[in-house]
Amino acid sequence: MKKPIIADSTLVSKYISGDEKSLEILINRHKQRIYSFIYSKVYDRDLTEDIFQDTFIKVIRTLKLGNYNEEGKFISWVMRIAHNLVIDHFRKNSRIPKFENSQDFDIFSVLKNTDIDIENKMIKDQILGEVKKIIEFLPDDQKEVLIYRYYNDLSFKEISEKTGVSINTSLGRMRYALINLRNIIKKKNIILTT
């Protein structure tokens, strides 16, 4: 027989009353969603671990101090904390989450996002979808470099090793990929802004 699922609010109450096991259940229940959310903003595993950890340290302190105001869902509250910590990180580093790029067009400059509200998230997801669709129009060699660089975060050295071409060729393909992307966007009259 399946064990009944204990509601988050019940687990929170039990944790506040001293049941440490409830915290573990809450973390295991929501860890993927929270971790993925943070990773989607910072694109760095180590940094994601740090922010994930800091998020729960804040959660724990707030709960133990009795400052948790249970008006909304527990997960929404935790996600808000994670989001604020991501913003703090970028503020501290005086930069927005974009890739540095000396090319004349940085595709990720259209993806910056400081709001968490659902509407913006939907728009952002839509844009990401559009970008992926546009990338499909690129020739395979250009598509390959662009995806390795931006989606898999590989250096040009790693890309050249993976694709068996020189670093200069990889750089050239990236340049053409970005030029072509810009042309496709212009030709199809696609607007990629939030």
Partner: protein, 45 residues
């Protein structure tokens, strides 16, 4: 078959076990205590 470059994105994104253990140990290592100025966190270690 066409190569799917986006496939590498489909990896499980979850924290390391040691991160979770750190959080759980942190939770066990602190305690809130009420004072005249309000609640404060006490480190039990």
């Amino acid at each position: 078959m066409e190569k799917n470059y986006f496939f590498q994105e489909q990896i499980a994104l979850e924290p390391k076990r040691k991160t979770i253990n750190f959080i759980l140990n942190f939770s066990k290592s602190i305690k809130a205590q009420k004072t005249s100025l309000g609640s404060v966190i006490i480190d039990l270690n």
